[in-house]
Symmetry: C2
Subunit: 87 residues, 2 copies
């Protein structure tokens, strides 16, 4: 495996972890609500994801682009679910 392929593999695994980590969080919000989640955290994270997506486009790193599209969708879902469970 050459260096670029290995970098991409590490990036994909990294992306699977950081992006996939939102899945158990969404399940937890579904079960018990998300009152302890910070709106500021979610909104700032979403802004960061949009910037990482731009960065990924510029350095042409497919793993960065893909991870941030999925992360963005999951964070928007978390925001909507949290909003719905708020009193």
């Amino acid at each position: 495996m050459d260096a670029i392929t290995l970098n991409t593999a590490i990036g994909l695994l990294a992306a699977a972890c950081t992006t996939g980590s939102f899945v158990p969080q969404l399940l937890k919000i579904h079960r018990q609500g998300g009152r302890d989640l910070s709106y500021a955290m979610l909104v700032l994270y979403l802004l960061g994801v949009a910037l990482w997506f731009t960065y990924g486009l510029r350095i042409k790193a497919a793993e960065v682009i893909l991870a941030n599209i999925i992360a963005g969708l999951l964070i928007v879902t978390a925001l909507v679910m949290k909003r719905r469970t708020e009193p």
Copy 2:
């Protein structure tokens, strides 16, 4: 500003947002606990951050390396704070 400098600037801004987003979350855990935060999310995210750090080292991207060092410290702090507020 040449392309590499602009990419670094976008990466640093992205890193400031995604990493900095944990700060309001830590404040919220301090105020009201972190029962609604998922341990699986935090641990998986930490693993992902370790992998992104490795990726940053390999592609020699200072903004990726730095962001993930700080993110790792903040997530460990969140884990400790959540643990302390659990019954």
